[in-house]
């Protein structure tokens, strides 16, 4: 699953509009508008890595998600951060070991087993 799919899934909870993240309801600079549980833009941007990495710890993911859902200023930061991760994973995670190396490892292990 791509990171974009993960984000869509994260934003796809109950009551979330299916606007692919850019609906007309998005507003800029919402730090005080949504009540006490709303985190600030600064907090949201500080937490963007932990949020994407699933490492928020005690911070409720819902609070962070809500902020990015409604804040037009912060949302592109989440998208760009996700696009970066997607690109890095695509570029580097698909690299495979050469077949000759796999054969050598297999042979080494067979020899090690034989000498046990």
């Amino acid at each position: 699953m791509s990171i974009f799919d993960s984000i869509k899934r994260l934003f796809g909870g109950a009551g979330a509009s299916d606007d692919n993240g850019r609906g007309p309801g998005r507003v800029a600079g919402t730090r005080a508008a949504e009540g006490a549980e709303m985190i600030s833009c600064e907090q949201a941007l500080r937490l963007v890595h932990d949020f994407l990495d699933g490492e928020l710890g005690d911070v409720p993911a819902e609070q962070v998600r809500r902020h990015f859902e409604v804040c037009g200023q912060c949302y592109p930061h989440l998208k760009l951060e996700s696009a970066y991760r997607e690109a890095v994973r695509r570029a580097a995670a698909g690299q495979e070991a050469p077949d000759a190396l796999k054969d050598r490892v297999s042979q080494l292990l067979t020899e090690a087993r034989a000498s046990d």
């Binding site: 500080r46 696009a83 690109a87 890095v88 570029a91 580097a92």
Partner: protein, 199 residues
């Protein structure tokens, strides 16, 4: 818990060998040289096999193999000492004191808020940029962003606190993002905007 009782390689085949590609990638990023990476992989799997009885079946095999690989690498490097750039980490952990607004994104948002320019960058260029990172940053980025390990496993593997992992990730990502953004501008994948005009 040991997989060695009946067939010493049985558990190994199931749990360790599937990670051979990942260990190779890790070794490649550690050493920066394919032939050295191949030596590292062979030594890693041989050692892993020999200490298979110390591994608890069903736990984090990939991290365990990465740890062995890193230890083998560090030991070999000790022999022909050539240290990478030392990353200073005394200012703050986890980037807590750093500006949370990423200047690269501020520059990119006006022209490409979705980050589509990343799709235009060829894989080889991204790998090259990862390999150009200082070792401490490179390891954190590879283990987290490429291999998807949780912070705690990265911390254990690198033998540093989780805060240090976050700090290295923060700096490594920013540096990599800056390099890739500059490259995209240079190649015309994204038009350059002044950060000042976007805020």
């Amino acid at each position: 818990m040991t997989g060695k009782a009946k067939d010493p390689l049985a558990g190994f085949d199931e749990e360790a060998l599937p990670h051979l590609d990942a260990v190779y990638r890790f070794a490649l990023r550690l050493s920066g040289a394919p032939d050295q990476a191949e030596d590292l992989v062979q030594e890693t799997f041989l050692r892993a096999y020999r200490s298979w009885d110390q591994y608890t079946r069903g736990t984090a095999a990939k991290s365990w193999l990465f740890t062995i690989c890193r230890n083998v690498f560090l030991r070999s490097r000790e022999r022909n000492k050539r240290h990478d750039e030392i990353v200073e980490e005394n200012v703050d952990r986890s980037g807590a004191g750093a500006n949370p607004v990423n200047p690269v994104w501020v520059a990119a948002i006006g022209a490409d808020p979705e980050g589509d320019f990343f799709d235009s960058i060829v894989d080889g260029k991204i790998v090259e940029a990862i390999e150009a990172l200082p070792e401490e940053y490179r390891m954190a980025v590879v283990l987290s962003d490429v291999e998807g390990l949780p912070y705690a496993e990265v911390a254990e593997l690198l033998d540093v606190p989780v805060g240090t992992v976050k700090s290295r990730l923060f700096r490594g990502r920013r540096r990599l993002q800056e390099v890739l953004y500059d490259y995209a501008v240079e190649m015309g994948y994204i038009s350059e905007r002044s950060a000042l005009n976007e805020s």
